[in-house]
């Protein structure tokens, strides 16, 4: 079910490339995160930088360590919206707004930004910024 303006077909087929890559990355990321976040190392590289609630972590190892050590067992993400843009140096900027539920805690909103880069034909995340939402609940 979706809402379309009269006469417009859904533009699934002719999405711009950055949107295709961006949305499949997002899907992949949150699937990994929700199921087994220790596996997230694959999408980062040594030059990657994560900013988690203001704290910075550099490098694949440090990032995976941080994510693995987050104090919850169960986590569930629900994407409310996502947005993708190409950058001048052929990277992709992805912005995600959504909600998450950790263990039995109340639902919280979050915002996350990814910067994706194509290295050796694979898209990796070079920058990642995460913030819990304060002014809205996603």
């Amino acid at each position: 079910m979706g809402v379309h303006e009269a006469g417009q077909r859904p533009r699934m087929g002719d999405k711009p490339i950055w949107e295709q890559i961006g949305s499949s990355f997002i899907q992949h990321y949150y699937q990994l995160f929700d199921n087994d976040r220790t596996q997230l190392g694959a999408i980062y590289i040594d030059a990657s930088c994560l900013t988690w609630e203001g704290q910075q972590f550099q490098g694949k190892a440090a990032i995976v360590e941080k994510l693995s050590s987050l104090p919850f067992q169960k986590i569930q993400h629900s994407i409310t919206s996502q947005d993708h843009q190409p950058t001048p140096d052929s990277c992709i900027l992805s912005m995600v707004v959504g909600q998450l539920k950790a263990d039995e805690d109340p639902i919280m909103g979050f915002h996350q930004m990814f910067l994706l880069k194509n290295i050796n034909d694979a898209w990796v995340c070079t920058n990642d910024m995460f913030r819990l939402a304060l002014h809205n609940f996603g």
Partner: protein
């Protein structure tokens, strides 16, 4: 005769005069004489007259003709459109007057008409050992012969057409590497696209002649090189006599400040000592500049600061020679001179200047504003700290500042204070324009190829926020996303489109104190930061103010005029949760002038969650409570219970039971 000769000379040499500009006359003159300089064939095609002229043409007409100069009063204005001057210049026969043929001495002196050397309007064609054939490079035999005759005092001028493309160092080194004889270039200078220098003896000249065709530049083009006999270079001509140099030295010593290691040669021509000894220190002339530099080299090699204010300098070729002589100069004052273009700075760009004064030069008018002027100068002297008395590096100087800050360093993951301030300043400026009403001013902030997109998330379980539809009025692409979430998204490209769209968005009032900013350095030239915050939307005066929450991500690059330029901009707008609106204290209050420090840690967050669940209070109120109690869970709990019993906790602190 004398008068026309006089005209010619004055027309040719650069002049001091009260006002007016020499440029016009000089340009005309140069373009006339310089068309074919440096091309052997052309010497052949056009008769020897022109070549003779171009031979005379030292840099910018600087050839002083010694004693003659002194005789001429008043000096003629180059810019006079006096037909006589032009006519004289074109009248080749008159030119011949100046050339010394009979007199074996090449020095162009004593041009009184009584002088036996002067001929009357004839081109003295001598058959045997007459003039050196100017239209071709002299053969070795000819050079030797004439060298013996000492017609031209053994000076040779080397011309490299298109020499302007190469730096002086590269050119001279390349030539030296191919030349069998070591040579010392004298009076290296550029005229138009050519480079010239002089060497003293015929063997050297001949060896240099052989360098032609041997040098290739990095694009594999041949560097051509032509050698011809010439008069002595201007710095050699009219060399100051030893006693004059002695006076010069004394005068300069008086102007040298030992403690500051600074030399003040302001209005040097009018120095009392020099004038009383009848020494005319016109620094535009190569011989004067050269003598001055020699004195500096011998007496003040440790010079740090040089003041050349008000010396009517219009070119810096002569000054360029100072670089090896006083390598430590850091402060240079060239104000109130006649420099017309920054290309003059090209000649001295090897100087490691920290302070430069250029005001009062005509080149200033080439720039539309101070910052383009400053950044152009920074191109020549990147280490400059002070220009015309004003500091060059300041907090909004993205060029030099940010490029250093943005270098990713291994140890320092954190973002420096300077960068934070930079971003904060940017945001303040951006939002003050964004909120003020005329968003078209934002055009300057965006890159030509900037992208902007707006996203409005909404959860179908809640009421669709109808109010947000005003954002999507112009949107024709409604995308269907999975999970049946309604999503409106627009992507705008090029700054024109972006700003046009931004102008359509409702008027806003951003709450800077609510801003939470995260900064991320992407590359040396790219910075990314995200802003989470709130803004009020004022639609009409009658409507109640709507509070929105937004997330905005900017990717910026440094722009040429010390500004940040947005290349990517994504905006997500949603309704601020009404519950949130009440609580003004979400996270410790931030002053607008500082970027919020990272908020609570993960453990603290878990604590707040737990507290919130247990107490029934909203997240933020729980946070506030815990903070006030130093994160002591138990104590906080006790205090909470106490306050609650006293009814001191407002209703809105508690989560509404849905």
């Amino acid at each position: 005769m004398y008068s026309t000769a006089k005209n010619f000379r004055t027309y040719r040499t650069e002049e001091y005069k009260g006002g007016g500009n020499t440029s016009r006359g000089r340009v005309n003159y140069k373009s006339y004489f310089h068309e074919n300089c440096g091309e052997e064939n052309v010497y052949y095609k056009n008769n020897g007259y022109k070549s003779r002229l171009s031979q005379f043409q030292e840099d910018d007409g600087n050839t002083a003709m010694s004693d003659i100069q002194k005789d001429l009063h008043p000096r003629h204005n180059l810019s006079t459109t006096d037909d006589n001057n032009r006519k004289v210049a074109r009248d080749n026969k008159d030119l011949i007057h100046i050339t010394e043929w009979r007199d074996g001495n090449h020095q162009m002196r004593n041009m009184n008409k009584n002088e036996p050397g002067c001929k009357d309007r004839t081109f003295p064609m001598t058959k045997n050992k007459g003039p050196m054939p100017k239209y071709r490079t002299p053969s070795k035999r000819e050079i030797e012969e004439n060298g013996q005759n000492n017609i031209y005092g053994n000076w040779f001028k080397i011309t490299i057409p298109y020499g302007r493309k190469y730096t002086k160092t590269w050119l001279l080194n390349s030539i030296q590497s191919k030349c069998s004889v070591h040579f010392t270039p004298v009076d290296f200078h550029y005229v138009r696209s050519q480079a010239h220098f002089f060497v003293k003896n015929s063997t050297t000249a001949f060896a240099l002649k052989n360098v032609n065709y041997k040098i290739h530049d990095e694009n594999n083009h041949q560097v051509r090189l032509f050698v011809k006999e010439s008069a002595a270079p201007s710095s050699e001509q009219n060399k100051l006599k030893p006693e004059e140099i002695e006076q010069l030295k004394l005068a300069m010593k008086k102007r040298f400040d030992v403690s500051q290691k600074s030399l003040n040669l302001q209005s040097f021509r009018f120095d009392q000592d020099l004038m009383s000894h009848d020494i005319d220190m016109i620094l535009n002339r190569r011989n004067c500049m050269s003598a001055t530099l020699t004195v500096i080299e011998e007496n003040f090699p440790e010079l740090l600061s040089l003041n050349l204010c008000s010396n009517k300098l219009y070119q810096l070729d002569g000054l360029a020679d100072i670089i090896p002589k006083a390598p430590q100069i850091k402060i240079l004052n060239l104000s109130n001179n006649e420099l017309k273009s920054l290309r003059q700075l090209d000649k001295i760009r090897e100087m490691k200047l920290e302070e430069l004064w250029l005001q009062g030069n005509p080149l200033y008018n080439n720039f539309s504003n101070y910052s383009t002027y400053m950044s152009a100068i920074l191109d020549y002297f990147p280490k400059l700290l002070c220009l015309d008395g004003k500091d060059v590096t300041h907090s909004m100087d993205v060029e030099t500042g940010a490029s250093e800050i943005l270098k990713p360093s291994k140890k320092n993951h954190g973002v420096s204070e300077m960068l934070k301030n930079l971003v904060l300043q940017f945001l303040e400026q951006y939002y003050s324009i964004y909120d003020c009403g005329d968003r078209s001013r934002l055009l300057d902030a965006y890159h030509d190829e900037a992208c902007f997109s707006l996203t409005i998330p909404c959860n179908p379980k809640e009421l669709v926020p109808l109010s947000l539809y005003k954002y999507s009025k112009s949107n024709r692409n409604m995308k269907n996303c999975k999970d049946h979430v309604l999503l409106t998204q627009l992507l705008k490209h090029t700054k024109r489109d972006v700003v046009d769209f931004l102008r359509v968005l409702p008027k806003t009032q951003h709450d800077l104190s609510s801003f939470m900013v995260d900064i991320c350095i992407l590359t040396e030239k790219m910075l990314c930061f995200s802003v989470n915050g709130r803004f009020k939307e004022e639609v009409e005066a009658t409507c109640p103010v709507i509070l929105r929450a937004f997330t905005r991500i900017f990717i910026v690059i440094p722009a040429s005029n010390s500004r940040l330029c947005i290349v990517n901009d994504t905006l997500t707008v949603s309704n601020a949760c009404p519950k949130e609106i009440q609580s003004d204290v979400s996270i410790p209050a931030r002053a607008p002038s500082s970027i919020p420090v990272p908020t609570i840690s993960q453990e603290q967050q878990a604590m707040v969650q737990a507290f919130s669940t247990q107490s029934g209070m909203k997240f933020n109120w729980s946070l506030k409570c815990l903070e006030q109690n130093d994160w002591n869970y138990a104590v906080a709990g006790q205090n909470f219970t106490l306050l609650k019993a006293e009814g001191k906790i407002p209703k809105e602190a508690f989560q509404q039971i849905s």
